[in-house]
Symmetry: C2
Subunit: 94 residues, 2 copies
């Protein structure tokens, strides 16, 4: 089982009210090191079998049509060994 | 300017209706290689100055309190050289 990750973020020129809300909340909670926050989406896709160029090409098509709105969002596709759940588990958080 | 990324995903045992909706839509759109989809959030945080262990510790605290709900979500913190926008730009998509 292979895992492909699609990250979707609002384009830099697009307002990001969710990110701004997080940024505004940080100093109120006592955190003052972060100067900007952007919020986007992360998709973890499971693929049966090997990740070939054809698989990645199909997932790029999925990312550009179903998972993101190309007018306001950028996306990136990459293969990732470990899911967030696995990393959190290793760090003793899950 | 350094960039720290926080990935937040629903825990494996938690139902993920958004991911299921995407998974259900894929075959209708002619994509049939993906066997499972989980949808989560991605935060890109800008930090002034260097990323020290103290900065990462503060961001882990932010991730565990403000950015994720530890009852239903796992998170992962890592430093990333390039934003999604920069990667998309290099790939000629933005």
């Amino acid at each position: 089982m292979a895992r492909v990750v699609v990250d979707v973020m609002p384009k830099p020129e697009i307002l990001d009210p969710q990110g701004k809300a997080v940024l505004g909340a940080l100093p109120r909670l006592g955190f003052d090191l972060v100067t900007d926050v952007r919020q986007g989406k992360r998709f973890e896709l499971q693929v049966d079998g090997e990740i070939t160029d054809a698989v990645l090409a199909e997932i790029e098509k999925v990312a550009g049509t179903l998972l993101s709105n190309p007018v306001i969002e950028d996306f990136e596709v990459h293969v990732e060994e470990h899911s967030v759940a696995e990393v959190a588990h290793e760090a003793g958080r899950a």
